[in-house]
Subunit: 338 residues, 2 copies
């Protein structure tokens, strides 16, 4: 949306690399090939990967852009849309990097607390964004670290009623019961981010993608660094798109394991929030966390406002069994101490 | 240098990932392993790669940071040091992305022209930077696209006398006759950037590194995204460091070929600038460029102020022979046209 675009970006042209046939290519100061043709710069816009993903999603390639994880994509939105001093709004608790990225890109970051860490008062949130003249609204959905999710209707209402770009960070959406749809064609102020790090099991390659209106993607490409995505990540990403059946199986397994683990935790006296992601969020005594860590069972603990809260990623059945045993041991140990 | 650091970054802590031994790792919402352990996030600070490079350079790991090409590293300097509206200074012509990155990071970009596109009046440049209250000075050395180089003494004088962070972009330094040294320990306002894209022949993996004072690297890590460098690039980078002999041979070959090609161009009536990089910069008629392109010989042409100038990357002897033949054909064709 031109309306929200930074003034300095309006006159900028997107870097365009024309892929041309050649006999010798001596136009890009590339070095000598000694390792699998890696001397060549990657295809600038990840064409093969982009075309394949576009077909799978029912999108045009012009509605997609790739980045080194969702991190780069959030930063691209800020680079295109956020003037110095302008406001970014989200709710809390949420992904802690939103605040850092805002600060790095010279914005002001404001959060509205969720009720009981779970539910968002959508009307109040819209008012909060508009009263603070938010330029960008960030929504982690399902939300990290709580695992809770907003309905498509709530998201659409926010997108329609705030006077801002709305980034819907769907890093965990494949683990939810919602369909993978988006309304970016209807709403040019909506930007959807997804990642290969979670459901696709490929955090090591740092690959995320953005879905937005073609006009928005055109602006994003103006602030994207040329050749941003290396050729190795593009290659593995393509392999992943050819292996969707594997991802689908793993997602199904994680969803089943999530319900099993939620029940186990409840049986053991914890109260995990209802999760639509690949993790569970719950309160516990610090002793549990320490005991687990001593056994080599790493879960995520938080500080600050979230002191005493823990986030447990759902693993394979075998990994989860180890967690369950360790929790039981921790509880027995404690009861023996008494 | 704290003096130049952005105020907002002073209270920020660098993201630190503690690498711990584990039995099950369920703290980072990683997915299920189905492809070579790529479900794990990469090591955040590229430890193995960093340790090996540090040993080769005689640096401590704390003096190095890696990025997705020099592009990300330039942006990291701006993120840490450049407030909105502050000035970035370079000379012209130089790498065109400096202007774009400055604009994206909300700075003001000023260039001082080189004399005859070759020589920099160092005194005047220092005055230019200081009069314009430059916060960051960018020096491409050897300079892209001219191929010319500043002496270590000139660089040191600039670093000493400007009141700014000085980024010395040494993307092509390995092709020069200067030793690979830097004075970042003596001058905490000096930042050196190098890349695996040119002399190492690995543009496809997008790998660059920064050398700076440990204090500066500490600040840079505050604005670097967690896990910025994917695991595949880290792996190939390590392989490259184990294959320095290959790189050294290729560099020697390119340097010899550069002298051969410079002589050929001069013999054919062109006047390439003396180059310390892996390319030659010269003026030509547009007809030559078009003829070469029609033959599949791609060289780089420029627009704007550099209309009529061309940059030819030095290739292998075989590639260069094809270029020579194509230039001869172009010249014969033109003489027959008469």
């Amino acid at each position: 949306m031109l309306k929200y675009l930074r003034r300095e970006i309006r006159d900028l042209e997107a870097y365009e690399v024309k892929e041309r046939d050649y006999v010798v290519k001596l136009d890009a100061n590339e070095g000598v090939d000694w390792l699998d043709g890696l001397n060549r710069y990657p295809v600038d816009r990840s064409d093969a990967l982009r075309d394949k993903l576009a077909r799978q999603l029912g999108k045009t390639p012009g509605e997609l852009v790739f980045g080194n994880g969702s991190s780069e994509l959030i930063e691209l939105v800020f680079k295109a849309y956020l003037e110095a001093g302008e406001t970014v709004v989200s709710f809390s608790p949420t992904f802690s990097m939103y605040r850092i990225f805002t600060l790095i890109h010279k914005g002001r970051y404001l959060e509205m607390p969720l009720k009981d860490m779970v539910s968002l008062d959508v009307e109040a949130f819209i008012a909060f964004a508009n009263e603070n003249r938010a330029k960008v609204v960030l929504i982690s959905n399902p939300n990290n670290p709580t695992g809770t999710i907003l309905s498509p209707e709530a998201i659409e209402k926010i997108v329609r009623e705030v006077d801002a770009m709305v980034v819907i960070d769907e890093a965990y959406i494949e683990f939810s019961d919602q369909p993978l749809t988006d309304k970016t064609r209807d709403y040019p102020n909506a930007v959807v981010l997804r990642t290969f790090s979670k459901a696709y099991g490929l955090a090591g390659i740092r690959l995320g993608y953005m879905i937005a209106h073609e006009e928005v993607i055109g602006y994003i490409n103006r602030v994207r660094s040329p050749y941003n995505l290396n050729v190795l990540t593009q290659g593995v990403g393509l392999k992943a798109l050819e292996s969707v059946a594997i991802a689908r199986e793993n997602i199904q397994m994680i969803k089943e394991e999530r319900e099993r683990m939620a029940k186990v935790l409840r049986d053991k006296g914890f109260d995990p929030l209802p999760s639509q992601a690949n993790f569970l969020f719950f309160q516990a005594k610090k002793g549990l966390y320490r005991y687990l860590a001593d056994q080599g069972v790493l879960i995520r603990g938080f500080g600050g406002d979230l002191e005493g809260y823990y986030r447990l990623t759902i693993g394979t059945p075998k990994e989860n069994d180890i967690v369950i045993n360790a929790i039981e041991e921790a509880q027995n140990e404690r009861s023996q101490d008494r």
